[in-house]
Symmetry: D2
Subunit: 348 residues, 4 copies
Amino acid sequence: MTKIKVSIVGASGYTGGELLRLLLFHPNVEINQVTSESYTGKFVYKVHPNLRKATQLKFSSASELQQCDVLFLCLPHNSSQNKIDFYKSIAPKIIDLSADFRLKNQDEYEKWYGHKHVRPELLKEFVYGIPELHREEMKNANYISSAGCNATASILGLYPLFKNDLVFEDRTVIEVKAGSSEGGNKVNEGSHHPERSGVVRSYMPTKHRHTAEILQELSFGKNIQVHFSATAIDIVRGLLATCHVFLKKDLEEKDIWKIYRDAYGNEPFIRIVKENDGIYRYPEPKLLSGTNYCDIGFKKDENSNRLVVISAIDNLMKGAAGQALQAFNIMFGFDERTGLEFTGLHPI
Amino acid sequence: MTKIKVSIVGASGYTGGELLRLLLFHPNVEINQVTSESYTGKFVYKVHPNLRKATQLKFSSASELQQCDVLFLCLPHNSSQNKIDFYKSIAPKIIDLSADFRLKNQDEYEKWYGHKHVRPELLKEFVYGIPELHREEMKNANYISSAGCNATASILGLYPLFKNDLVFEDRTVIEVKAGSSEGGNKVNEGSHHPERSGVVRSYMPTKHRHTAEILQELSFGKNIQVHFSATAIDIVRGLLATCHVFLKKDLEEKDIWKIYRDAYGNEPFIRIVKENDGIYRYPEPKLLSGTNYCDIGFKKDENSNRLVVISAIDNLMKGAAGQALQAFNIMFGFDERTGLEFTGLHPI
Amino acid sequence: MTKIKVSIVGASGYTGGELLRLLLFHPNVEINQVTSESYTGKFVYKVHPNLRKATQLKFSSASELQQCDVLFLCLPHNSSQNKIDFYKSIAPKIIDLSADFRLKNQDEYEKWYGHKHVRPELLKEFVYGIPELHREEMKNANYISSAGCNATASILGLYPLFKNDLVFEDRTVIEVKAGSSEGGNKVNEGSHHPERSGVVRSYMPTKHRHTAEILQELSFGKNIQVHFSATAIDIVRGLLATCHVFLKKDLEEKDIWKIYRDAYGNEPFIRIVKENDGIYRYPEPKLLSGTNYCDIGFKKDENSNRLVVISAIDNLMKGAAGQALQAFNIMFGFDERTGLEFTGLHPI
Amino acid sequence: MTKIKVSIVGASGYTGGELLRLLLFHPNVEINQVTSESYTGKFVYKVHPNLRKATQLKFSSASELQQCDVLFLCLPHNSSQNKIDFYKSIAPKIIDLSADFRLKNQDEYEKWYGHKHVRPELLKEFVYGIPELHREEMKNANYISSAGCNATASILGLYPLFKNDLVFEDRTVIEVKAGSSEGGNKVNEGSHHPERSGVVRSYMPTKHRHTAEILQELSFGKNIQVHFSATAIDIVRGLLATCHVFLKKDLEEKDIWKIYRDAYGNEPFIRIVKENDGIYRYPEPKLLSGTNYCDIGFKKDENSNRLVVISAIDNLMKGAAGQALQAFNIMFGFDERTGLEFTGLHPI
């Protein structure tokens, strides 16, 4: 069997490392190159110590990139767009994990990111990377832009409700609880352990850029608002989105069940988690570490028309590398679950 | 100087232990008795190891209670109301830290607590225990009912806005992130360390009983709704309430500042925390461990009329024992800060 | 290909759940039954929520056990020995994960466990379950007794030194730092989150039963002592053994390197971890969550003949279920790594 | 009453901030100046957010230092010795919290610190800062050098045994488990939260500089060795020293009790912690956060002559700022406990 030759640009970061970990065990993949400008020439396990004994690969410089079948871009935001022609010359297919090509509307990009987009004409060439919403487009796509982690959890949690026009969109409040790996591997004052440990830090009460993606994917042609906040807590991996929506008509929980089952019943990576007893009655991100699942639960308020939708993912997996690999599998016609079988640990 | 003789009923729990810690160092207080049915005859430091070398007190049984000046009741909910006549016979003044006498309306009590109130005629004798809202009543009160911890943070965060009729009350969404000490010192399946560690657990997405207190204190004669959820995270002490409110008119942040300053400018235990830089820009519960502060911050959304109000307390202090002691100080005309001077640790 | 039919007795605990997780993905295994007396008839994912969507298995009662090829016993200590005849009647091969058959010497068992062994004549039928020491015996074994987690890390860390008679055995001090999953899934006062969180708890400064296994495997016919202590810290999975040994002759670090390379150079699950720079210079248990690795490092004291040997494992994997599966693979002639390929997460 | 005028040099670090917190509430102290070169002109609460509303002090530059009664030096190591004449010109009494003047022997300093001491003739002018060992000298001292945190816990734990010649000194193994605040407030790769969280990191298996202090204080004229290692764990404050010593003669636990009682019976900040039941049977650093206690416990091994001594402190309090304030109180004849009354929190 011929293997797909892939390279990862920016493989020394957390997202790149996670993708590399997955690709090393993918039966249809041959890793061609992994690049890092800071660690060129070094063994990847020096940066990703979990890969000791798993690989003898070394980092290359992006300038040494050779032709391959697929290029994964795991670069900081605002990098891909500046060198996109070069990357296109390296591989016919690109999966970009940065924010550069997520938004289809140039104005929205510039509003939320605060600077001009260098290549706005390419925005529409990229398929937005959530497989559950864009699977068909992905099958023939050359360019995919993976979704933001907070956006992924929020969109997957709310999609069936918004699509079916069941909620007052503008009243939606989304509160994400996020771990420290979301901030990447660069040290900063706020990530210093004595300061970051034990926090419940309102790091982005308004203006989070992922809001723009949520609006794009959930507006269905309308002009809607959603109200997003993010709070950092003392976990490393994982995020939970608690989404408060207000129903237009009086639905019971069994109706909601049906709506979610209709939307996601065949999805390999979505689980509806809603138990009446036990201690894991709703989605719990710690159970998802290393998995590609998005777990979704909900609870209807008996005293009002509020529905609380709870959505959990591993930000580095379903929120980044796992999502990208799932898209890759779709792109090439592999079983979507290939390389993504890990079921998570308990206890952890 | 004559000291006030106080006894604590139910002193082996977390709230009772915290209150005991505070009272031991209060210059105007003499501790008469501390009761525990499970630990009668044992040294209190066997249960509260932080009090080693601080006291040689032993637990008594409640049946041995002697006359004193004030009785603090730190019992499980639904206990005080059943023996209230006995407690009244012991002391002329009572501060109850349970939920039994918080709600003034019997129907509301029965709706949220799911059972009949045994002594509904007494509900109105108790002053609701948040000093910032009920200071004048406390000065002449004999009976005070301390507020719930989640309610305290939510009410203090929202009071100036609701009182001045600045928000659409029914759209309010309150999301509390809570620590494990809120659940008390009784072991249960969900508190087992391997299961409780690292969680982001939606333990009460709807129907949290503290909602009733919030409605009581913030309705100002109207019939309002608020939407409350609570998520358990991996901290022991402290809680953060993230409150999403929607403004009736277009207020700028400097207007909001003024409203909070007017409401709380002279309050010894409320700090407005809102910085433009640094890593502690908003309230942070870990900084409040052991203190009686309620820190309040806010952020106006530039894209909508949403205001995010962020309120943090130590649930065992301002949310329980500290609040009760502050009320006690007011009751007896002491400086409110007496015994509550601890300013918190950093780093922690 | 015919699959091996296996059953797990006591599959609702942490060790049994971990083993089940591994076996579900083992290509040569068919899971016949998993038993639990408390959860008979319940879906296993109710107890092991990480297995949602991975299996529809339900728990049986041990009394319903059917014939199979291998029985894994994941019972509390002092259970296997009482029903061993029954288990032998169910399957020709047994891998016992409890402590019942680890010690070959009946007197030692009774000294450390404080009670009579019911079937001492069987002690010698069980091969002690560390593959790196007993691989050849395992190939033809019918009965294997998996090693204790603390013992596994300590023995693997020290084996090359003791075997080669390089240290003063009696001066050895071993200090294990352990997570809360080691205590199993039964709630107790000490495992209550507010009490267990943040601890550095000297839970077993002396008399830890795993000491007996260390002595058994490292004595090589001599009468030796080692000094073992265990401290509980705020992690769930993983343990680190810091072993202080004193060298009989003046060896340099490169000599030590050679000794470990000779002992473990071909071992699939042992990695020598010793870096001169970076932040993961020595073994780090958090990197091992879900993996079967034992990482071993060391540092020679320049001022004395002390060598500090550092050994890390995941207590539920290499310290229990992973070790048992590795032994199973050896028993049946499979590649030892089958089902144990997971390389661990970073960051985590 | 005239207050003592004190200034803190280097008050923006963790140790300086902790000292400032204590001094602000000391009834006999007036804070003159607090210096920081990086934050000159800024409010101290911008750096120490726990001091919001507690003080309106601003940082000065050390170049602006005015005459005062006592100078506390909270500088990085190797700073005090270079400007000691200047500091002496500012205040007649100095308490240095760095390592510069801890060792009395110049050769030892240079061996462990790897560079020349600039002012070796001053080494003997400084009293080593552990009050329990040097109280009498402190009463007339002008210069005190506070001890290292790991050294403090180790020395206090072992002092009664070494002083009474009860152990084979050279066999002593000390294992410290330490929190992240020990590393100070400077960000580095190893303190990045995703990397530092959950670690059991062997950061200093050998060669820890605090070993030199332990040797100095415990040698009593002999030439001894002790074997020290330090492991970083996921706590912020606090450290536990597990000390393995080997007794020269057969002492029972009640004999050991007597030895510790004789040594520390009247000490206000030492507690012997050794319970037969309960969950806090030995010293536990989390209970000590914010306190000046050193808790000491022990366990005799029934199978050998090993005694495990367990010693816990808050590294920023008894290991730094609290110790310094206790010495200050002795220097000026105040009750040693003044300003150090905080008894610690439970749960935490």
